[in-house]
Amino acid sequence: MDIAQILINTLVRAAELSLLAIGLTMVFDILKFANFAHTDYAVLGALFAYVFNRILGLNLFLAIILAAFVTGCVGILIDQAIFKRLRNIGAKPVTLMITSMGTAIALRNLMRLIWSSHTKTYAIPLQKPFEILGARITPLQIGIIVVGLISMIAFHLLLHRTTFGKALRAISDNSDLASACAIDSEKMIKRMWFLASAYGVIGGSMIAMEHLLYPRLGFDIIIPVFCATILGGIGNPYGAMLGALTLAFAENTVLALDLGPIINFGGWFDVGSIQISTGYKPAISFMILIIVLLFKPTGILRKK
């Protein structure tokens, strides 16, 4: 595979992952717990989009926007029904994390019950790839990269140009001081859940568009999303984007690497060419996650 192709695949994957990682990092930052149900919200939204697109016959773009809105509300509802109660009784973050795991199991299987385990596809016309510098890219992939970029810029503006963004950053910095300044944290938390879930849905739908959609998808992408989040440093949305980019690059290159010359070590062991089996593709993000956690748990970028 040549470099242009690796670059394109990396950008597409990074656009998908970073939209998911942004939401995860926000929740982790403000509420101090790792939300294991985050990617399941995203898949729920992607399935909503599937319903709007396939059954109601809506334009795919509109279907995803509508699904993001609906799932944003679901995110708020789940928070009010479950996480808010736990916050109110002063539960430890660890309890919230375990509860989110329970939520993930319930949600994932509920989706399986409603939509069955079969894979689904959106109504997308067959994609004819362009050739750019000898690499192939489909119009869909260009769309994913563009939507990813626009979403990032929108997120940046939201965080720095709106009262909500400033309030959110204030809560993240010092929640006591924020509430002393008459910032209604519960209201901000509601909006944050909406934003986190809706962004997740856009990311999740893009993964579903490019690959396949099925209820278990949420579990299959949870580790890469966690990996991107932690790689970039928890609570740092720009870190999450950088983390997604780094992980996407690793996912696209590690399998193509020839480990032979490294193990040969100047002809000491003649093992020829060694490549990691493609069966281990999902393990790349697991390994990177564990390595990052071991050696640099604070991530690449420091918080703010």
Binding site: I98, R108, N109, L110
Partner: protein, 299 residues
């Protein structure tokens, strides 16, 4: 007869999961280590014991001990990052490590036969017990394992070592300030828990006589979690009670398929949805579980 056989099967599976739940309880309920990769021990125990017997012809007793030893070593490896990681970061890493173990079992075909699984795992002491009495014999064997493990873990928990572990769970900084080597204690706890779950894996493999990576999906870990949340953490009776409740529900609802107009996949989904909701409800309204941990007060 079919009913009796089913009850024996169900009891045996409850027994095996009791061992796993007790092991998870030792990590979560006693030491406060959030392990989302518990199925890795189960997988390692099952594969080690069955491969040693099937491929290398090693005596079963040695294979069981090796399974426990290797799972213990894996517990040791898993405990290393607890030194530098906060508990939630470690939990995320354990989820990944559980999947890595399954992927190794799936991809290293030369060792594990990959997706085909290990077949022809022999029955223990088959020559001495009649075919009809065998299920009862195996159930008794599992019961014996539970009793030994129960008293061992209970004794350990009430020893100074166990009190130190509970101190880590409740207040790690305090424990450190008293000069306890918390890292070493966590390591020892993980090794003990790994050995118990490895034993469960070996018992499981020699019971069903055929294992494949399909048996070690992450869903197994969540079932074990449901057991300790429903049953109650911090005491081993709770873990056993949870294993009974969850397995009874999990296995018995398989037969409702004949009466409910749902396919088997939908039934499985419904079952797991209910288990997920059960986890949430217990954490919200009865966080101590069915059997509450008795806290000793020292005057």
């Amino acid at each position: 007869m079919a009913v009796i056989n089913f009850v024996i099967y169900l009891s045996t599976m409850i027994g095996i999961y009791s061992l796993l739940a007790m092991s998870l309880n030792f990590q979560v309920g006693i030491t406060g280590l959030i392990n989302f990769g518990q199925v890795a021990f189960f997988c390692i125990g099952a594969y080690t014991s069955s491969l040693l017997v099937v491929n290398a012809g090693i005596p079963v007793v040695v294979a069981f001990l090796a399974a426990m030893a290797l799972s213990g070593v894996f517990g040791y490896i898993m405990s290393i990052p607890t030194k530098s990681l906060k508990s939630d970061y470690w939990a995320i890493a354990t989820l990944a490590s559980g999947e890595i173990v399954r992927l190794v079992a799936l991809n290293e075909g030369w060792l594990t036969a990959g997706p085909f699984g290990v077949m022809g795992i022999p029955q223990i002491l088959k020559d001495f017990i009649s075919k009809d009495a065998y299920p009862v014999f195996y159930l008794l064997f599992v019961m014996a394992c539970i009793i030994i493990v129960y008293f061992f873990l209970d004794k350990l928990t009430n020893s100074p070592f166990g009190r130190n572990l509970k101190a880590i769970r409740d207040e790690e900084e305090l424990c450190l300030s008293l000069g306890k080597d918390t890292q070493k204690l966590k390591l020892q706890a993980m090794v003990v828990a790994g050995m118990v779950a490895g034993l469960a894996g070996a018992v499981f493999a020699f019971y069903i006589q055929f294992i494949s990576p399909e048996n070690f999906q992450p869903i197994e870990t969540f079932l074990m979690w449901a057991m300790i949340i429903v049953g109650g953490r911090g005491n081993f009776m709770g873990a056993i009670a949870g294993a009974v409740v969850i397995q009874l529900f999990n296995v018995s609802t398989r037969f409702l398929g004949n009466y409910v107009p749902l396919g088997s996949d939908s039934m499985a989904a419904l079952r797991m949805t209910i288990i997920g909701v059960l986890i949430i409800l217990f954490l919200l309204y009865r966080p101590e579980g069915l059997i509450k941990e008795k806290k000793k007060v020292y005057d």
